[in-house]
Symmetry: C2
Subunit: 239 residues, 2 copies
């Protein structure tokens, strides 16, 4: 963690980025609403008034931290368009759980409506909508990445629903995992890839358009990839 | 809708219940944050000051409406312990979508963090936590109902995760449906029952304890029930 020793040599933008980094480190230990500006100032090695020099209010620092975390998360969804789809999705799930693991309480607080910071009603409301907008932008980034890997530009309503509802399943799986970490995360990373296949298959089982869209996609999956492995196990389970 | 004609004959509790009902009817048309106390007063046929006589602030009326809606929703999860599990879950899904259909914008606003009502920071924050607590209580009611139908009292972590994450899948499926209603709701009611089976099967495919728990349960499902029908279709899809 950078300390105040370098204060005089740090520019405004550099100091802002340092404070955001310090805040995110603290939010990874405890819920953001339990972390005060005094603590952030102390961890950064500067005075409380100086924090307010870089961020006009508590919320502006919190929102800047949330924005950096959102951009970080969205960047982890980017995956080369190479190799089997199941393996691509598994790599993304590993990076997603890296993020969740790394941010812990901050991630939980964010997904439960953002840090509850008491600074005046108008600011609080504006903060709630800023938080919701950032979360939605991350969800939208995930959705668009998946569509691009499926090479589909104009998805029918049923496909959009399967993808968006699976994204929410991934969020809730991560939140439940964080609450006690009672299941190895590697298992859940694979499980979410399988859940995607399963939810897609359910939709395709009842809709011809979904079948036509997904058949070429799944048909090219290798038998030893995550999708192939699941199919083998499910057939064994059914018999 | 009851009008002010009966005002003089209504007791305090009866008037409170009437105002809650009027508020819920308005929230079913437009998002709660777009509905003013003036509109609620007008729809109930009483003056704005009189509304404040029954509810000390805007939030207390909103929270009372939310509480009634939560209890209503939780009550729809109650299903007799008779017949195949898939059919029981399908009946619950129908009642869940009845609720979602009936409350529309109110349900959406609630699931996105409750109505954003500007009344002072402390109240707003208290409202956010009241809203979250009520939503959590409905989720917990759903979780406990499912466990009781599975006749499991001490679920392993993997089963708890499957059930709780499926509940969040049901929420997001309903929210996506509300946004344009582009898929017939009856289809999504069945799909969610199938999703439950699919997510459970994925977990059982990789965990012996889950297999042992679920085998007797699914083994007793009839071939023409929702679970049996899905299995038939998936086998056809795979071949």
């Amino acid at each position: 963690m950078t300390t105040g020793v370098r204060r005089s040599r740090m520019g405004v933008e550099e100091r802002r980025q340092q404070l955001i980094g310090v805040a995110l480190e603290l939010f990874a230990q405890r819920s953001p609403d339990e972390v005060s500006i005094d603590e952030i100032a102390a961890a950064a090695g500067i005075s409380r008034p100086l924090v307010y020099h870089y961020f006009p209010g508590k919320l502006s620092l919190y929102e800047a931290a949330l924005k950096r975390a959102s951009e970080d998360l969205a960047s982890r969804f980017v995956e080369p368009h190479e190799g089997p789809l199941g393996s691509r999705l598994l790599r993304v799930m590993r990076r997603f759980f890296d993020f969740v693991d790394q941010h812990g309480p901050g991630f939980s607080a964010l997904m439960r409506g953002g840090p509850a910071v008491s600074v005046g009603a108008a600011d609080t409301l504006s903060h709630v909508s800023t938080t919701n907008a950032l979360i939605d932008s991350v969800r939208q980034a995930a959705y668009e990445q998946i569509l691009s890997h499926l090479v589909i530009t104009d998805p029918p309503a049923r496909l959009e629903l399967v993808i968006r509802s699976w994204i929410s399943l991934a969020e809730s799986t991560a939140l439940i995992w964080l609450d006690g970490r009672r299941i190895p995360r590697a298992e859940l990373e694979v499980q979410l890839v399988h859940d995607f296949a399963a939810l897609t298959a359910v939709s395709a089982a009842y809709d011809e358009e979904m079948r036509a869209l997904l058949r070429p996609m799944l048909g090219s999956e290798p038998a030893d990839g995550p999708f192939g492995d699941l199919a083998t196990r499910l057939i064994a389970l059914a018999s």
